[in-house]
């Protein structure tokens, strides 16, 4: 037996995926199953005057048409949002509050009949003036939510840090910069859209729901709260999931309507949304408008940071942020730097846009924060006429300062920022690139180098701080070792491409000296997996990964008793060494875990119960804080505004690595997403509240043709509080890369006097900036 941790083992799940044997939601067909199609509002803001179902009900095969009034009568008209601050309509009643809001559901024998009949549901609207700009919303000229007692569009004010101290420090700073930095609304657009099959067994009274879910147990609890069905009567199964990125965390109206229909009809009902439905109604990301102020001394030492943010939450506050932190972990905005004073505040507003604000790798506003500070650092460097790398180095939190308490409340676990940055600069050839740039600028060429030295926060979370629906954000693992030494490993997480079937087996294999190939990993079934909070926000390895390691160690402790029995020795004389139990001081006298497993069922120790299994619920003592240095090199065509990302290097430090090949894959995927956010993607609305990006011709997803060729490297700074030292990596490339791209473009345009352009940096925007600067 050799080490399994840190080995680039091929993914156990891939053979079934690449052979087309994955089982996604839409692959599931149940006997007599019906289909649900939803009717959506074309108006972003309108009163519903009437809904006429008659033509739809006359379509052959249609079984039912459900409206908001029907749900109202059944007291199922509202969904609770995860943090409990707000509630969300299932189907609109009274008013529609955003374009494409769900207004009715048609259930029919075929998907086609349901879609055709949905077209025939006649809804009479009285259009109202829409509010699509949060800065207009804050004026309260139109109050969007009639249902709330508070007659204002303001949702919450949240702040952290010391306002007066920060204001004073900024006022006293010899150098100050202030910039409005916008993280525009975007969408994760998973290749598989959301869907559900609700199957109410009227004989047993048990509801089975197949669901595209990143958090099946939380969904079970939410379904129970919404429907009133006891939780033991609800079985959630999350089959293979084709990408999530936070989009598959919330409960969506389609899930509830399919469930209501199945409960009423006693027949399975399937709902699978279209691409347009996915882009227009499900959890978006960002929409943060951040005013960032930095203060510094003339030699570049940071003195203060202040960030004031206006957040556009859409029609309902349906973000999945924990109760205590309505703006999530935005406090990470101090980044990798020492600030003597800092203050951040967020004010959120309703608008006539869909709710969400939780998705696209980093539901907790870490991406927005990292973007703000890393852009601001470059703007400050420009103001100081300093190399942005040297400004960062001057202000890094130093190794000896860890654990480091930031002025905004986080305690960073570990870091070695200088080493990681210097490795990146060396690998990319930073000094040579700067020389090349200087030569090109002499010729008028636009070449830019952008650096991002980000720190992020993942692994939600300590239960004392973070919850969903009041449930502490722990996670769980259960390990059962069979007599032959094979086993089954279950966790409260649910992978959507992260490779848990491999990495979880590697963790348990490492801890128990068993072959990961012999360990079956199972997630996503609430009847069998232990309760967990799910997979999102890079929390799986920091939380469930720790639970797995600690559950395995519990198994090992029991195994030690059995090993002592087999070795006819005292437990104290048995040690776990080189992946087997050995008798101290007696070379060659040892038993393997496989032998122990067999004995656990055939020859257990006299004072222990048979079997070999354990469960662990892990509540982490702190978050983990992965970091990295990313460098982008771009060339810009002056005539067209086209940006060519010539090179991109990502040096990540995510602590101990379970499987470097999977980490590499995670980084490649996240960088491609970051590239898309920086250059391509935005969910835009016109002044009338029309969503202008409702399909893949208008909302662009990069292919291999557009994506740069990624270069990657790693440093390893283990987390001191994680049992394996792991920190998590899924979100790092998405968190760390957009600002590297933007910094590179701004660096290229800096000779023209261009200071900032908001993402996405489309050719048109860049071309206009060049034209504006040279006109």
């Amino acid at each position: 037996m050799t080490a399994t941790l840190g080995v680039p083992m091929k993914r156990k799940e891939d053979p079934r995926f690449i052979r087309g044997k994955g089982r996604y939601l839409d692959d599931i067909v149940l006997p007599n199953m019906l289909y649900l199609a939803l009717v959506h509002s074309p108006y972003p803001h309108a009163r519903i005057k009437s809904i006429d179902k008659s033509a739809a009900l006359a379509v052959t095969g249609v079984k039912a048409v459900i409206t908001g009034e029907d749900l109202n009568a059944a007291k199922l008209e509202w969904l609770p949002t995860f943090h409990g601050f707000d509630k969300q309509m299932v189907l609109a009643f009274g008013k529609v509050l955003y374009q494409y809001q769900e207004v009715a559901g048609v259930i029919a024998e075929t998907r086609e009949a349901a879609a055709d009949a949905a077209e025939l549901v006649e809804v009479e609207y009285e259009p109202l003036d829409p509010v699509v700009d949060p800065f207009e919303s804050m004026k309260d000229a139109v109050i969007l939510r009639d249902d709330r007692e508070e007659k204002t569009n303001h949702i919450y004010h949240w702040e952290v840090g010391k306002r007066d101290e920060t204001d004073a420090a900024l006022a006293a700073s010899p150098v100050r910069i202030k910039e409005r930095i916008v993280a525009p609304r975007c969408h994760p657009a998973p290749l598989e859209p959301c869907g559900a099959i609700a199957d109410m067994n009227t004989a047993t009274g048990r509801l089975t729901v197949y669901l595209t879910s990143q958090a099946p147990h939380v969904h079970r609890t939410a379904f129970s709260l919404v429907t009133g069905i006891p939780e033991d009567k609800i079985h959630i199964i999350s089959p293979d999931v084709g990408g999530g990125f936070g989009n598959k965390v919330p409960v969506y109206p389609g899930y509830v309507v399919a469930t209501v229909a199945s409960v009423i009809l006693g027949i399975p009902v399937k709902w699978v949304e279209s691409r347009t439905e996915n882009l227009t109604t499900t959890g978006f990301a960002r929409d943060y408008h951040m005013d960032v102020e930095l203060g510094a001394t003339t030699d570049g030492k940071l003195t203060a940071l202040k960030v004031s943010t206006v957040a556009d939450h859409g029609a309902f506050d349906a973000a999945a942020d924990p109760r205590k932190y309505p703006a999530g972990m935005f406090g990470i905005v101090t980044g990798s730097y020492v600030f003597p004073a800092a203050f951040a505040q967020v004010d959120a507003y309703f608008t006539n846009k869909p709710p969400g604000g939780i998705a696209y790798r980093c539901s907790f506003r870490v991406t927005e924060a990292a973007y703000a500070i890393e852009r601001a650092m470059d703007i400050l460097a420009s103001e100081l006429k300093m190399d942005p790398v040297e400004l960062r180095s001057l202000n890094f939190i130093k190794n000896e300062q860890f654990p480091f308490a930031t002025p905004l409340g986080f305690v960073y676990d570990s870091g070695d920022y200088e080493t990681t940055m210097r490795k990146a600069l060396s690998l990319i050839g930073y000094d040579d690139l700067r020389k090349e740039q200087a030569e090109k600028r002499q010729r008028g060429d636009l070449m830019g180098i952008g650096v991002s030295t980000f720190t992020e926060v993942v692994g939600a979370g300590p239960g004392k701080h973070f919850d969903i629906l009041g449930i502490k954000m722990f996670d769980s693992a259960e390990i059962r070792i069979h007599p032959t030494g094979a086993g089954i490993v279950r966790a409260g997480t649910r992978h959507q491409g992260q490779g848990h079937e491999t990495t979880w087996a590697q963790i348990v294999g490492e801890e128990l000296g068993l072959d990961p190939q012999d360990l079956l990993v199972e997630e996503g079934d609430t009847d069998t997996a232990p309760y967990g909070l799910g997979t999102y926000a890079s929390r799986s390895t920091p939380v469930a990964g720790a639970a797995l390691a600690l559950a395995a160690r519990r198994v090992r402790e029991k195994a030690r008793k059995i090993a002592a029995h087999l070795l006819e020795a005292s437990e104290d004389d048995v040690e776990w060494k080189d992946y087997k139990f050995s008798l101290k001081g007696v070379p060659g006298k040892a038993v393997t875990m496989k032998e122990v497993a067999f004995a656990a069922y055939t020859n257990p120790a006299p004072d222990s119960e048979p079997g070999l299994e354990a469960t662990y619920y892990y509540d982490p003592p702190n978050m983990t804080f992965p970091f990295g240095t990313y460098v982008a090199v771009v060339d810009i065509d002056r005539e067209t505004g086209a940006v060519d990302v010539r090179r991109f290097l990502a040096v990540d430090d995510c602590g101990t690595i379970i499987n470097p090949m999977i980490v590499e894959g995670q980084v490649h995927g996240g960088l491609t997403e970051g590239y898309a956010i920086a250059f391509m993607q935005e969910i835009k609305y016109d002044e009338a509240g029309n969503n202008l990006n409702t399909n893949f011709t208008e909302y662009l997803v990069p292919t291999a043709l557009e994506s740069p060729s990624w270069e990657t490297a790693r440093t390893v700074t283990p987390s001191p509080h994680h049992p394996l030292g792991a920190k998590g990596v899924g979100e790092s490339p998405n968190v760390g890369s957009p600002q590297a791209f933007v910094n590179a473009v701004m660096d290229a345009l800096s000779p023209l006097g261009v200071r900032h352009i908001d993402m996405p940096l489309t050719r048109e925007k860049v071309w206009q900036a060049i034209r504006g600067a040279t006109a």
């Binding site: 074309p42 009338a688 029309n690 202008l692 011709t697 208008e698």
Partner: protein, 152 residues
């Protein structure tokens, strides 16, 4: 999404003939391009089903049309509202009718308010398509009137 259009047609018919034509549902309804079916409600109101193809959005749109003649005898408003496939289109058109016994000018303006999937494709093809549809309506009015002229 609000779109604005305008156009002009010169018709070799008297102002009275043009005025009478545009104030008659039976005359105007067939002038809608790609009209599949229509039902006349009264002299100034009719419903029409029109085949619409705007980029990837293709289907039968159902419209309610109101002809609203102004008392000055030189101005007529045309209000069109309807939609399909989750889209809503409202068009407010007006035409100034000036001329004499042999020639009449039809100067028209239209504002279209578009919501839903049709609006999504707006930035690319909607302006052109909407201009074509509305322009064709007035062009067809001219053709129909001209044909009557020829026939008479």
């Amino acid at each position: 999404m609000n779109l604005q259009f305008s156009g002009n047609e010169v018709i070799s018919r008297s102002k009275t003939d043009v005025w009478n034509f545009v104030n008659d549902s039976n005359s105007v309804a067939p002038c809608l391009p790609d009209v599949i079916d229509y039902q006349i409600k009264d002299e100034h109101h009719f419903d029409a089903t029109v085949g619409v193809a705007v980029g990837p959005v293709r289907g039968k749109f159902k419209f309610k049309i109101e002809i609203d003649p102004q008392s000055d005898g030189e101005h007529v408003n045309l209000n069109i509202s309807g939609g399909a496939l989750g889209s809503v289109v409202d068009v407010a058109a007006d035409a100034d009718i000036t001329g004499d016994t042999t020639s009449t000018a039809l100067d028209w303006n239209a504002t279209a308010s578009v919501r839903g999937p049709v609006a999504t494709v707006g930035g690319r093809v909607l302006q052109t398509q909407a201009q074509r549809i509305i322009g064709a309506t007035f062009s067809n009015i001219k053709t129909q009137l001209s044909n009557r002229t020829t026939a008479s």
